[in-house]
Symmetry: C2
Subunit: 153 residues, 2 copies
């Protein structure tokens, strides 16, 4: 039924190097969680990652998923996405991009454009050190645009 996942190896993504660079080890759990995130780039919550990871690693625990996600964030292999009150979402797409958040259904989409690729130059007050800019676009996704059209028209 389910398509056989071909796991990434360190040659393909350099996960080991990235972890090592932050003084962290590459464990089977970390490899697996990263693979899970790479397989469907749909911005899952920690809980969703946990459920997916369990499919082929039944012993893995929620705590390990959280620890692992933190480790992957720390070594810059995963981004956290915080757009609303709900659970933090995780994103393994490390190419610069923004997120579109549907205010109606809460789904998150990548938008392949960032404020740094556009010609914005933010002037920060003296002493502030810029690390990166996080752009969250709020609006309605195609599905919800249709639904709301059908309601109001």
């Amino acid at each position: 039924m389910a398509t056989k996942t071909k796991n990434a190896t360190d040659e393909t993504d350099g996960l080991n190097e990235r972890l090592a660079h932050s003084g962290l080890r590459l464990t089977p759990q970390r490899r697996h969680v990263h693979d899970v995130l790479m397989e469907h780039m749909d911005h899952p919550t920690a809980d969703q990652v946990f459920l997916r990871a369990k499919d082929s690693m039944p012993e893995i625990s929620m705590a390990t998923v959280y620890n692992t996600l933190d480790a992957l964030v720390k070594c810059d292999m995963v981004r956290q996405v915080n757009v609303d009150r709900g659970a933090t979402r995780y994103c393994a797409n490390m190419k610069p991009h923004s997120h579109f958040y549907c205010d109606d259904c809460g789904s998150v989409y990548d938008v392949l454009q960032t404020i740094s690729t556009s010609e914005a130059n933010f002037k920060l007050p003296r002493g502030f050190k810029l690390r990166n800019i996080d752009t969250n676009i709020h609006g309605l996704c195609p599905d919800c645009t249709n639904k709301s059209r059908n309601r109001t028209n």
Copy 2:
């Protein structure tokens, strides 16, 4: 000691109209919570709003603070700020602006510039309806920049 707060009235901020427009009433609690948010625009969490509001309205409850904040958000008198895993922060500054988030100490500052005032033109795929763009600048605040300089040099 503490400066006497001069409460805003509806003539000054039009809170009543805004609430009414969303089918909501202006209650003493809503007036007070909004005043509290206006007094120090330091992006407090719901809990901090609760503590400050209690100072001059001891009977107010946490649930009311949450309800009220939701009401104020709904009628566009307050913005929610979600930048990290922590509690949602609230911001009564409704002039378009971005937020600077210090990755070290977690404090939030307003930056009087937005992606829409800069010349960005986001191209969204067909069907997506843009409502607004939320820009969060991550980095180090002046205090933490100094601290980290002292540690590493």
